[in-house]
């Protein structure tokens, strides 16, 4: 029962519940897209992947994490509070005057590196950081979380070409491939086809994972981080937007749907 695998699963469940609680208090937050990336963040922070320092969030010795899909990372709030980046009480003031945890996270939050509300910027900035780290002979890694929807922004592919050309094998992209943008399934808007295959064609080392199997995600990320074969790396995590919440999961408009408080209460009241 006390295996590391079990601990990761328990943490995943805890973050899922805390994220629902935050959304219950602050319905302005985007719930569905914050539920597809929970296992990814749990694996990074509790699975020993990401070196971090809550006392000094921008310490030189940290691994960098750029959260490009800012809106869909409300699940980071309980994680960062739990790890000591800021007091737990701050979670009570999400989207409130005097608080600093907004509907879309900003870099005033300890643990956030960059501005993330506008989509499609993270990979490019992370690419510059990865190049900078290489040039100063640092062995720190750069992780980026991007949504599949924001990969419609062309700047991502400018960065993808650049990172491969420069062999930035300290750059690790995770795509939260929940396959739903704001108005519809991405394959009904502009389909990505075989996303991993597209990155491979751009010169990346590409892999897929079940994004809701936290143990598998952790294993893939650990292997990815240690892989220095001269190529940037991407893990396409197959996820479900609105994971675990009826009326969100599988609903193409779930990005902008707020579940009724009663439904959230009912889900939170069930045995964990």
């Amino acid at each position: 029962m006390n295996s590391p695998e079990h601990a990761l699963s328990a943490k995943t469940r805890w973050v899922w519940r805390e994220t629902l609680r935050i959304h219950r208090r602050a319905p302005e937050t985007r719930l569905a897209s914050s539920l597809s990336s929970i296992e990814i963040f749990v694996a990074l922070y509790y699975g020993g992947i990401l070196r971090h320092d809550a006392a000094e969030p921008l310490a030189e010795l940290r691994d960098r994490l750029i959260i490009s899909k800012g809106h869909g990372s409300i699940c980071m709030y309980p994680i960062l509070a739990d790890l000591g980046f800021f007091p737990v009480e701050a979670l009570d003031k999400v989207c409130q005057a005097g608080g600093f945890l907004g509907g879309i996270p900003d870099p005033v939050i300890p643990g956030y590196e960059t501005v993330n509300g506008s989509l499609g910027h993270g990979l490019g900035v992370a690419t510059g950081m990865a190049l900078g780290l290489k040039r100063k002979a640092s062995d720190r890694a750069v992780f980026v979380l991007a949504g599949d929807g924001e990969l419609h922004e062309g700047a991502n592919w400018e960065a993808a070409m650049f990172a491969a050309h420069h062999g930035l094998d300290n750059l690790n992209l995770i795509v939260d491939d929940n396959r739903i943008s704001m108005l519809d399934y991405t394959n009904k808007i502009v389909g990505h086809g075989d996303l991993a295959g597209r990155f491979a064609a751009f010169g990346w080392q590409a892999e897929e994972a079940d994004g809701h199997d936290v143990v598998q995600v952790r294993e893939r990320l650990a292997a990815m981080k240690e892989n220095h074969s001269g190529k940037p790396k991407v893990l396409v995590a197959k996820t479900r937007k609105g994971h675990g919440v009826p009326k969100l999961e599988g609903e193409p408009l779930c990005h902008i749907i707020n579940p009724k408080p009663e439904l959230l209460d009912q889900l939170l009241g069930e045995a964990p």
Partner: protein, 320 residues
Amino acid sequence: MTQPSQAMRDAFLLRLLEAMRQDEKLFFVTADFGSPVLDRIRAEHPERFVNVGIAEQNLINVSAGLALEGYTVFAYAIAPFITMRCYEQIRVSLALLSEVRPLNVNLIGVGAGYSYVVSGPTHQCYEDLTIMRALPNLGLLSPADHVTAAAMFDTCLARRQPKYLRLDAQVLPVVHQAGAPDPSLGFAQLRRPGKICLIATGYPVHTALQVAEQFAASGRDLAVIDLFDIAGFERPALLQTLADYQAIVTLEEGFKGRGGVDALFFDLLADTPPRPMLNLGVAPGYRFELGSRVQLHEQVGIGPNAVRAALTAFIDRHHL
């Protein structure tokens, strides 16, 4: 003895080349745009020279990432492309992010105004001052000669903030023969006497000087100010300088009435006693005529003849 002229970019990049030899934290990024001095930077410092290709959005993002890792970054491209093609990258990852994390990224745009004379409206740049001055936290430097451009390298190093440095693509005569102007003031007075003060930035400083000389020959003095630091000039000092004049004339190589230098002075002078003001700039519109830079300027209202005629009418209208 007058100083020989040099291209602004060569004067600036020579300073950078020299500094890169001493300072490991200087990084150069270009969007496939070059110069002979750049070839030397590339040859001497291949580890800190990167060509991102024709990809200005990535130019900005990569520069932001490098700056976050502690580098002082010089990003280089043609003026309209390094400002307008990637405006939201500049807004989000430079202007906005630097509110929280200090970033020293220097955007070097070559081709202010009509300096790419025969390349047409895509390569000419009449909007950059307007849109770049809309962004808080962004420095905005606009030299009128290579002496000032070279000196601005020190300003780029000293001020840890994102900046836009707009350089002319042509070799222009030296305005500041006695040496670079004081960077802390952000402006320099080139001619003092007279009731009317002409204020310009970049190439139009030369037009203002030429027109002022012509008026002086017929017995009327006009003052001329070179405003080279558009975001960081010392407001009280400029207001005090302008208090000596009965009328203010601005001259810009950008669209008139669209938020450029003219708007800057409406704001600056809002709390001063009313006095006649004339704003001269490019008549908004895109044109495809070919000709010399002066000919193009005359067509849109900022050539020496057009400025002289507008000034004469202004003087008559206000009995100056």
